[in-house]
Each structure stands twice: as C-alpha cells, then as structure tokens.
Amino acid sequence: MSAGTSNVAVPGAVPDVAPRRGGMLAGRGSALAAALIFAALAVLPPIALAIGDPFLVVTATRILVFAIAALSLDLVLGYGAMVSFGHAAFVGLGAYAVAILASHGIDDILVQALAAIGVSALFALVTGAISLRTKGVYFIMITLAFGQMAYFFMVSLSAYGGDDGLTLSARSTLFGLPVLSSDVSLFYVSLAVLASAFLGLRALTLSRFGRVLRGTRENPIRMQAIGFQPFAFQLTAYVIAGALAGLAGVLLANQAEFVSPAYMSWQRSGELIVMVVLGGMGTLVGPIGGAIAFLLLEDWLAHFSEHWKLGLGVLLVLLVLFTRGGIAGGVERLFGRARP
C-alpha cells in the first residue's frame, strides 16, 4: 500500500500564519482602501465647483449608484458564489418604484425607498427560490431569463411609458422638502448610502451568516456535512442583494430623473458583472473600484471612437488574462507583499 510514499511529500510546507482568505483587501486593508475612496469622493463636489465643472458631480453620482449596485452583486457573486445574470432587474424595479409612485403624486423618498426595497426583495425571493434549484450554467440562464422577464414586463407596461420610459417631473422629497433637488445633495446622499452599504455588508460577511456563506462558496458538501443547508443562506443573500440593488435604483431614478426598461436589460446585468470581476470578486471594496473604473473607462473611450465597447472588451480580456482578482488583486500584489 501507499505507506511510506507520502513521507517524501513536502512536510508542513512554509509556515502560513495569515488566515485571511482575501488577503490584505479582505482584512484591514479593505477598510483602508474604502476609506480612501470615500474620502476622495467626499471632497469631490467642492473641487468640481472650484474648477468650474459642476457636471463632474452628476457623473460621480452616477458612478456611486452603480457602485452600490455592484457592491450588492458582490454579495451574490463573490460571497454567495451565485453567478446571477439578472441583477439589473432589481435596479430597474427600484427605479420604477420611484417613477410609478411619483406619477401618482407620491414623492416622499422614504415611501419610495420602502416600496423599492419591498418590490425588489420580493422579486429576489421568488426568482431566487426558483433559480437556486438549479446550478452552474443553468443558474446563469434562469437568472438571465427572470431579468429579461422583468424587462419585457416594463416594456409592455404602456401606462408607464412602455419602451419609451417615464420622465420624472421632479426629484423625490423628504416630508415635502425638496432635499434632493440640488445635484450636490443627491451626491452626498448617494455617498452615504454607499458607505453604509459597504460597512453593513462588511459586518455581514464576517458574521455567522457570512461565514456560512463563505464556507458554502468554498465547499457546499462540507457545509452540509456539518449541518448547514446552503439554500436558505444563499437565498437570504440573494434577497438582501436584491433589496440593496433596488435602493440603488431609487437613486438612479433621481439622478437621471428618468426611468426606462433599458435599466433592466441583460447588457446592464452583464456590465454589473464586469464591474465586480474587474474590481475583484468577494472583496466588497473591489467592486466599488470596479464600478468607478468601468464608468470612467466607458466615458474616456467614448471620446476616441464610437466603437468604444470594442476597446473596453479588449481591455477586459487583457485584465482577465494578466491579473488575478481584478483591481483589488492587483493592488494587493503591489502592496500586500510587505506582510511578514
């Protein structure tokens, strides 16, 4: 038998005392990187004002909104190991909750946000419960199908603009006050939502719940063998992420003062996946960076040619080929080696 042969195998290997899975950016480094990003964003509006480019704030708000959506997708994709291809549907549902309520004279942001969270959480609960019966590529296909279903539902909803979408007459209010009417206040509200979502998800991923989710990502059979049914945990993560994406939709509707089914298209879902992968899955801060990089790149490449998407595609392929763990992985390799 094999006795003796494995004695030759490397004994003990190199002492590895660093327990953190995501390395630097999953530990304290992640909080530091996030703090830097948030601080830089916080001083953006006065700088934009000083250099006489107020439109910068509008662009930045849009980036914040997609960063929230990408962050929520990271919970599903990076921590839950569920490749969801219909995540934009939740953003769209949140945006439509604002527009539809507003068209009936309900402008209050709290009511709208509650409705948005409720609708997207419910949609996540129902579609997640069904989708999680499948695995692998079937899961991708079925989430894609549900996303498209939501998309075509909105296209067919002619009372609310159908294909053309719906323009908001004004931004949401709070207790009747137009608190979001200035671009700068909308920007800071979005930043606050992003920072809270980051801190909340960070705590969540380290909690009992998050630990089960991370364990399931690594080995679902092992988790069942010690007594955890992955389904309930994955579904809960899916619902939380759906609700958060819905909240991003509330901000998106306010930022654009317009909603349309295009927000929910599969291309949008694909872009969110790109942001998460580009930034680094399962790091939380990575997808925020991914959203910033993606949208800036999109803007920048659009200056050069109308075929910017091709350029973006090439860049992405290079990134996937030459980096592991996206931007977060790259930053980690640059700075993370200092660890003893």
């Binding site: 038998m1 094999s2 009992r208 007594g227």
Partner: protein, 251 residues
C-alpha cells in the same frame, strides 16, 4: 440485547446496471468500533454516502438511535448525531483550523441567521472548537490557515470537524488515506482515544490499523457483506481470505 445505535437493513444502490450496494445489512452498537474493509471499488464510500445522506438509497432502511432516517437529508442526520469524514480531504482551506471546527459548533449552537457580530470572535464557539482540536492534537495549529497544514494534520482536522458537530456516531472514510507511517501512527492512537467516547464506523484499507482498533469487522466485496465478526473470526473466514486477505498476503 439493547437496540443497536445504527441499524442498516437490506440497503441498495445501483449506478445504472452496476449494483454498488447490493443488499447490505449490519448493526452497530453503542460504543462499538465497527470496521468495514473491502478491496478498491467494493462500494465502501458509496455506503458511507448512503449512511450520511449524501446519496439517496434505492431501497432498504437506515435506523439511527431508534429512528428511521432513511429519507432524512444530510443536515438532518448530522443534527441527530451522525457525522462523517471524507476519504478525499474536504476541509475549508481558506479558513483557519479553528474556524473549520468552530463552524461545525456554530451549526448546532443557536441560529446562524445573525448578521452583525463577527463570528470568529464568539468565544463559546471557539472554546468548543478548541476542545475538538485538542482531541486530535491540533490545538497548537488553531490559527494556521487550514490549507497550509501537512497532509497528516489535514486528516486530523477532518476528524476534529466531525467531532465538533457533537456527533454520537462517526463515519470515518479512510482516515489514514495517503498518510505515511508516522502520520498514521498518530491517527491510530487518536482513534484509540476516540473509541472511549464515540461509536465509530471505520472504513480502512490499513489492516494493521483495523485489527488494532476494531471490535467487529465487516467485509464488503462487490457491494455485499460477505462476513461480519470479531477481527479473529473475520481473519479466519475462508471466503474473506480468498476474496480479500489472501490477495493482501500475496501482495
């Protein structure tokens, strides 16, 4: 005689035309170490899969602690005290050794739908996990990344995780798989101690280990149990000698 802790009756499982578990019946009594031996491909792992709930049986029954658990999921079985280890090490490489065990404690200690407090700082979970690690002599490795352990240590952790579930009965699928002489000596000594507190079903190829540890031995060949008895009885069994031990000695 009191009711056995585990009672398996006419258990069957086929993959297509291949009957991998072909009418297996046996009992395991409380505090017994029951070894199941058999040549490669005899269906030992498949049997463990069926007993642990990883694989549904085609027919037959499995009773555990007086309850029919044939249709129970893997999760329900482990909650009742039936835990398994894996032939192919399946620890969570990315977590610390302590967290690997603490998670098994967590599974039976209150709700895991808690979202805010850091789990790795929960002392009650960590204390119990440490106790399980101590039983397999891994407590000094608690804060290492599990993936960085040596092969023998990983096999020890595999057992500690099963212990940490709070199981009464351990289904150990080749705990010595791939280990060298020294590593397997550690594991055998460790199982000697586990025997005192746990009922164990041990699948093993290493005959020295089996005959040193087992109270009773069953021999599985092509999905059928051809003999069950004390190590001496099984060693003397003519069919066993022909089918299995003979081949061992010839080798």
């Amino acid at each position: 005689m009191s009711e056995p802790l585990l009672a398996v009756t006419d258990l069957r499982k086929s993959f297509g035309a291949l009957a991998v578990t072909d009418g297996v019946s046996f009992d395991v009594h409380g505090n017994e170490l029951h070894a199941i031996i058999g040549p490669n491909g005899a269906g030992k792992t498949t049997l463990i899969h069926q007993l642990s709930g990883n694989l549904a049986s085609d027919s037959g029954t499995v009773r555990f602690a007086g309850e029919d658990i044939t249709k129970h999921s893997m999760v329900d079985r482990v909650r009742r005290g039936l835990a398994r280890s894996f032939q192919i090490t399946s620890i969570l490489d990315g977590f610390t050794v302590l967290e690997n065990a603490a998670m098994a404690v967590q599974a039976r200690s209150g709700s895991s739908f808690r979202f805010l407090r850091p789990a790795s700082k929960e002392s009650p979970l960590n204390d119990e996990a440490r106790a399980a690690l101590a039983r397999v002599k891994l407590d000094d490795r608690a804060h290492r990344r599990a993936g960085s352990l040596s092969h023998g240590e990983k096999r020890q952790l595999e057992i500690a995780i099963a212990l940490a579930t709070g199981a009464k009965l351990l289904l150990l699928d080749e705990p010595l798989a791939g280990t060298g002489h020294e590593e397997s000596a550690v594991l055998v000594a460790l199982m000697q101690e586990l025997k005192l507190t746990h009922t164990i079903v041990l699948i093993e190829h290493d005959m020295d280990a089996v005959f040193a540890l087992a109270d009773r031995v069953s021999v599985l060949v092509y999905g059928r149990l051809i003999a069950t008895g004390t190590p001496e009885e099984v060693r003397a069994h003519p069919e066993v000698r022909a089918a299995y031990l003979g081949e061992e000695e010839a080798a």
